[in-house]
Amino acid sequence: MSHIHVTDGVLPFFLWFFGFVISGIIIGFIINDLKKKDLKEIVPKAGVASAIMLIGMSIPLGIVPVHLSLGILTGFIVGPGLGFIVLFVVNLILALVGHGGITVVGLNTLVIGLEIFIGFYLFSFLINNIKNLKLSILISVFIAITISLIFMFTIVAQTEGLAENLPSYLHLSSEEQNFENLDDVLNAVDYVFFNGWTAIFIILLVGILIEAIATYLIIKFLLKIRPDILSIKI
C-alpha cells in the first residue's frame, strides 16, 4: 500500500541517491548478521517470500485504488532482517517491469522496510502482552502501514507540495485548479459519497483494513498447518 509509484526523473537527486545509500548500509548490516545462518534457511525462504509479494502487489483490490503489499506478512514469515532484503529484490524486479522507477528502489525499500520492522516488533510486543492473535495482528498492521504511509507521503511531497499530491486534482479543469488553499484542494477529492479529508481517510482505511484482515487470516491458517514456516513466536 505504501509503495511509491513515482517514475524516474521526478524526485530530486539527493532524495533517491540517499535512499540507495541508506538501504545499502542497512542491507550490509543484515547480510553480515545472516552470515551466521545456514543458506538453506535463508535463500529458499527469501525467494518464495519475494515471489509471494510480487504476486500480491499485482492484484488490484478493486473497491479502492490501492494494492496489497503483503510486506508485514513477509516479515512474519522470514523475519524483519531478511524481509528487508526481500523488499529490495521485489522493488528491483517491479522497477524492471515498469512498476515504479529504478531510481526509487532504495526509497521504496526504506518505506516498506519501515512497515515490516514496526509491524514485526509491535506484534511481538502485543502478543506477549494482550495475548490475542487477532487484535495483535490488526493493531500492528494498522499502525505499521499508517506510519509508512506518512513516511511515503512526506517523501513524495518533496517534489510537488502537499496539496498537489491528491489524485482528484487531475480531474479538474484549469479554472477549478486555481485553489487558494489546501482546503479547496481537499474538498475536490471524491470517493463514493464522501469528499475531502473524509474520502482520503476512507480510501486508506479500507486498504489498510483489507491488508490487516488478509494478514490475519493467512497467519491464522499457517499457524494451524505449518507454524514452523513463521518467524514470529507465539
Binding site: I42, V43, L54, I85, L92, I93, G101, I218
Partner: protein, 235 residues
C-alpha cells in the same frame, strides 16, 4: 502475466536483440536513463522516444507488449505531469515524456536480455546472497502463478467463491494463499536440495560473456554516447 511474455522474448535466440552483448545493452541503458533524468528539453525527450521506438521495431520487440508494460508508468507519470501542468504546461508534458522514456529504456534492456545474464551481471554491484535470492524468486514466481491459477479454478469448481458473500470469499482466498505459501516453501526447499547436491554452497555461478559480439554492440554504445553528449550540451 506479462513477465511470461518478457521471459519468452528475452530468451528467443532468433531475435536480433538476444545476440547483443549485455555490456553494450547495460551501457546503453545507463547512458539513456541518465540522459532522460538530467535533460529539461521536450524536443530531446521526443527524440529519445523516437529512437527507442525505432530500436524496438528494428530488434523485433512487440510494440503491443511495450504498450501493455507502459500503462503503469504512463498512469503515474501522467498523474504527476498533469499536476505540474498547473504551473507550467511544458513541465507537465516533460514529466510524462520522461516517465515513458525511462520505462522504455528499462523495457529495451529486459526484453533483449535473458534474466540469467541480467541477474548475474548485478553480481558486480550486489552481494551473491541477493543474486541467489533473485534467481530463486524468479523461478518461484512462475511456479506460484501456475499453482495459484490451478487452485483458484479448483476453489471455483467446488463452490468456494460465491458472489456477494465477501467474508466467505476472503476466508477461502486467504486459505488459498496460505496453501500457495506452504507449497512454495516445500518446492523451494526441494530446489535448494537439488542445488546443494550439485555443489551449491552459495553464489550461483553462470557464464556470462561481456565481450562485444557484433557491430550492433558498437552501434548501441555510440548511439547512447551521442545521446548523452547531446543532452549534456543542449539539454
Amino acid at each position: 502475466m506479462l513477465l511470461v511474455e518478457i521471459d519468452r522474448l528475452s530468451t528467443d535466440k532468433n531475435k536480433k536483440g538476444y545476440n547483443i552483448s549485455i555490456t553494450s545493452k547495460l551501457l546503453f541503458f545507463l547512458f539513456m536513463l541518465t540522459s532522460i533524468i538530467v535533460n529539461k528539453s521536450l524536443s530531446i525527450n521526443i527524440l529519445i522516444l523516437a529512437l527507442l521506438t525505432t530500436l524496438f521495431i528494428y530488434y523485433g520487440i512487440s510494440i503491443k507488449l511495450i504498450f501493455k508494460l507502459s500503462l503503469y508508468p504512463l498512469f503515474f507519470g501522467s498523474l504527476f505531469g498533469i499536476i505540474q501542468m498547473s504551473s507550467s504546461l511544458e513541465l507537465g508534458v516533460l514529466t510524462i515524456l520522461k516517465s515513458i522514456s525511462a520505462a522504455w529504456s528499462v523495457f529495451f534492456l529486459i526484453t533483449t536480455t535473458p534474466y540469467i545474464d541480467l541477474f548475474s551481471t548485478l553480481n558486480i554491484v550486489l552481494p551473491s546472497l541477493i543474486i541467489d535470492i533473485f534467481f530463486f524468486a524468479y523461478r518461484s514466481i512462475f511456479i506460484l502463478i501456475e499453482k495459484g491459477n490451478n487452485l483458484i479454478k479448483i476453489i471455483k469448481l467446488r463452490g468456494g467463491l460465491k458472489p456477494f458473500n465477501i467474508i466467505f470469499n476472503i476466508k477461502n482466498i486467504a486459505g488459498a494463499i496460505g496453501v500457495i505459501i506452504i507449497n512454495g516453501f516445500d518446492i523451494s526447499e526441494r530446489m535448494y536440495n537439488i542445488y546443494h547436491l550439485r555443489g551449491y554452497k552459495g553464489g550461483i555461478k553462470s557464464e556470462v560473456s561481456y565481450k562485444l559480439k557484433s557491430i550492433d554492440d558498437i552501434f548501441l554504445i555510440i548511439l547512447s554516447l551521442i545521446t548523452f553528449i547531446g543532452v549534456t550540451i543542449y539539454g
